[in-house]
């Protein structure tokens, strides 16, 4: 009796049993739940958690991470808001990896996989990382990062000899030479994934690539920048188990020489910047992933290629695919899971016609992101009817057409949300008038599982936002652009939405009168930052100055770390005046 009163909460399960069970539970939500049961379970979880994702780097500090999860083996940290990918965030906004690298170097002895996304990395950070963990680091991903040069990569190449994965995709890297790749070629024999796609690293030598292919017998994925394909004949021959290849360029005038290029036999994920695809036809039926974002194909080329790819699961391309290409896709690619159609620069466009056919034909679709020139309620209803596996839906309406066929889209959006029960992520970038306040209310009411939303130019008044914020029970991250909402409505929404922990807004009704409207959303452990409206002058390709007026931005997020201390001049912290 005495024991039971004084003993801590006793689940009746000895630690040893729990330790056997825990390794099987690695989902972050399960682990979060476990850690809330009691102090003992919290401690066991802390000691055994293998992977942590810090969804926004300013929500906590690196030393808190080290104190709670000293045994972490895999860490992913994300920095700048997503809008940075569209040039809407000042370059020096923040998101520095330094404190995280310092924690890794000092305390996180078991760390093997490291992934930084949209963060600022310095050469010195890479050197510290390489010196401290170079002997054990197995994966390093610098994804859409900036601030470093090939000198930093040199340290990685020379000291991280256990590296299986090096990914630099879409990072802005200052290129001084190609020595970093040479270091990897000389020191590494176990590389499996090498990725510097969508970077401007051009001084790499194809001989180093060939050497890597020869030395690394497990090399399965290589994505490069613009290296001439004809120079890679030796590389392709050596990379016997290569499954994924993206990049390269086709600059040679004598295009028949490309017929001599043979691709590795197991290649099933491909992205080529070519204007011709016949060399791909022989193994097109093996392809399950195709990246045509940088290809120079027209609609007809798309159709000819796609109809030869019955096993295609992932396709990325531009609007040049057209509605006709979507029809071919619907007929030929029944296994399609992910489709992303980016905005091209030509006249061909995708519309509701293509989307309807696609929804009816590709029933396995899980991810659909598309820029359309026109959209109807009926096509959104079709998606709701047929795309039962859809988890992620993103639609952007282009400015090309002055009117769209059928608006408002309130009913179509409602039908889509009610039909796609698995929807977790939603983006709608429209125009004023296309989704009314009623439609915005529908989004609130019919998106029970959606965790992330991006809404552009939706609703027409604060009423819409009030209705919206009555729903969305799972919404954790909300991004909005071009809002007609007042600061008061935004603050109200931020307080109402039960799961919201991150809010980003650009373009809203700033109040010109004295008000604490925005600060109404202030709470302990919540930071509010403002980037006032600014004018950005860039030069376009004809060396003319282009002036862009960026509206003000608000960023509000939950944080255990208190306000930031590393602001650039463009960012202002709103501390409530107590």
């Amino acid at each position: 009796m005495e024991e039971r009163r004084t003993a801590p909460f006793n689940t009746g399960m000895p630690d040893a049993v729990l330790k056997c069970v825990l390794p099987y539970l690695d989902g972050p939500r399960d682990r979060a739940s476990i850690s809330l049961v009691c102090r003992r379970w919290y401690e066991l979880d802390s000691a055994s958690r293998k992977h942590i994702t810090i969804a926004f780097c300013y929500t906590t500090t690196a030393d808190r991470l080290g104190r709670r999860f000293p045994a972490v083996e895999s860490l992913k940290v994300k920095g700048k808001p997503r809008a940075a990918m569209y040039d809407l965030i000042p370059d020096d906004w923040g998101g520095y990896v330094r404190p995280w690298v310092q924690e890794v170097a000092a305390n996180l002895d078991r760390l093997r996989w490291l992934h930084f996304r949209r963060m600022i990395v310095r050469d010195s950070d890479l050197e510290v990382l390489a010196r401290s963990r170079g002997g054990v680091l197995r994966a390093l991903k610098l994804d859409k990062c900036s601030g470093f040069s090939t000198d930093g990569l040199f340290h990685i190449g020379s000291m991280c000899r256990e590296l299986r994965t090096l990914c630099l995709e879409e990072s802005s890297i200052v290129e001084l030479d190609g020595q970093w790749l040479h270091e990897i070629a000389m020191n590494n024999s176990i590389l499996e994934t090498l990725n510097f796609y969508r970077t401007d690293l051009v001084q790499v030598s194809f001989e180093d690539l060939e050497r890597i292919a020869r030395n690394c017998c497990n090399l399965t994925s290589v994505k490069i920048s613009n290296c001439e394909i004809l120079d890679l004949v030796g590389f392709f021959r050596a990379a016997a188990v290569l499954e994924e290849f993206c990049g390269g360029s086709f600059n040679n005038e004598q295009s028949d020489r490309y017929n001599a290029v043979t691709f590795p036999p197991k290649l099933c994920r491909l992205g080529l910047g070519s204007h011709r695809m016949p060399s791909v036809f022989p193994f097109a039926s093996l392809l399950n992933k195709l990246d045509l974002l940088y290809a120079l194909l027209d609609t007809e080329d798309h159709c000819l290629l796609i109809q030869r790819c019955p096993n295609l699961e992932i396709l990325e391309t531009r609007t040049v695919i057209g509605d006709r290409g979507l029809e071919v896709l619907a007929q030929s690619c029944k296994k399609l899971k992910r489709l992303r159609i980016e905005r091209g620069s030509g006249n061909v466009s995708v519309s509701h016609r293509g989307l309807t056919v696609l929804a009816q034909g590709c029933l396995a679709l899980e991810y659909l992101a598309v820029y359309v020139s026109d959209i109807t309620n009926a096509s959104l209803e079709s998606i709701g009817t047929y795309s039962k596996n859809l988890c992620d839906f993103r639609l952007a309406l282009l400015d090309r057409e002055e009117t769209i066929t059928d608006f408002p889209l309130d009913n179509g959006v409602r039908a889509l949300l009610r039909g796609c029960e698995k929807l977790r992520r939603l983006a709608l970038y429209l125009r004023p008038g296309v989704l009314t306040d009623v439609g915005l209310g529908y989004i609130g009411r019919y998106s029970p599982n959606v965790r992330w939303m991006f809404l552009g130019y939706v609703g027409s008044s604060d009423t819409g936002l009030f209705e919206f914020s009555k729903g969305c029970p799972s919404l954790q991250k909300l991004e909005m652009m071009g809002c007609c909402f007042s600061e008061r409505a935004l603050a109200h929404a931020a307080l109402q939405l039960p799961s919201l922990r991150y809010l980003w807004v650009q373009g809203y009704q700033t109040s010109s009168q004295s008000s604490d409207d925005l600060l109404a959303m202030a709470r302990p452990c919540r930071n509010i930052e403002l980037i006032p409206a600014r004018r950005v002058i860039t030069t376009d390709q004809v060396e003319e100055a282009v002036v862009l007026e960026h509206p003000a931005q608000i960023l509000a997020y939950c944080s255990l770390a208190g306000p930031r201390t590393d602001f650039p001049e463009t960012v202002i912290s709103l501390d409530p005046v107590l």
Binding site: F407, C484, S573
Partner: protein
């Protein structure tokens, strides 16, 4: 503390409505001038020319709502008053005449070009009104959406988004498309 909170009174938290800080007034003035300039710079040049030419041929105003859609600037605050626009037509003010038919030069700076038109005062005022209405279009469309009105209001409801930022493209794709354009223009033997 390495960096204290900057006390910029954007929202006029500490001061009353009437007594705005110097900085706040500066911001407001800049915003309204920029807004007007912004609105004018986004107007369709054909629209401007047609309004002016219709003034010189007949007196009935063009129903610009039916033929053109004027881009809106979503972030304009409702409270900015119509300024006197000294920037645009110093000549006209000095030439004020009662009957309003006397023409005076109206200089318009648009998109890096300068155009001078001889317009009557009435026409000039209707052009200014268009510019101001163009910048406050967003307010109107919010109200008109309540009225269940079919096609004639379609143009009004569907303002394009060109207010402040064009629809953004991912940086990496933007770079690719620009490079491709460059390459195509270089390939042509007649490219200068």
């Amino acid at each position: 503390m390495s960096r204290a909170t900057v006390e910029l009174d954007f929202f006029g938290m500490e001061k009353a409505n009437s007594s705005k800080s110097q900085f706040q007034k500066f911001i407001d003035r800049r915003r309204s001038i920029r807004g007007i300039q912004g609105a004018i710079s986004k107007m369709n040049p054909e629209l401007i020319k047609s309004v002016i030419s219709s003034g010189s041929t007949n007196r009935t105003p063009v129903d610009w709502r039916k033929s053109f859609s004027v881009p809106s600037s979503p972030k304009e605050d409702r409270s900015s008053p119509v300024p006197s626009l000294p920037i645009l037509n110093p000549a006209l003010r000095s030439n004020s005449s009662d009957d309003g038919t006397e023409t005076a030069p109206l200089t318009i700076f648009y998109n890096g070009t300068v155009s001078v038109f001889n317009v009557s005062r009435d026409k000039a005022e209707s052009i200014f009104k268009l510019a101001v209405e163009g910048s406050s279009k967003n307010v109107e469309s919010a109200d008109s959406s309540k009225v269940a009105n079919p096609s004639s209001d379609q143009q009004n409801l569907l303002e394009s988004r060109n207010g402040d930022l064009p629809i953004a493209r991912r940086k990496s794709l933007q770079r690719f498309l620009e490079k491709r354009k460059e390459r195509l223009t270089c390939v042509s033997p007649y490219a200068w």
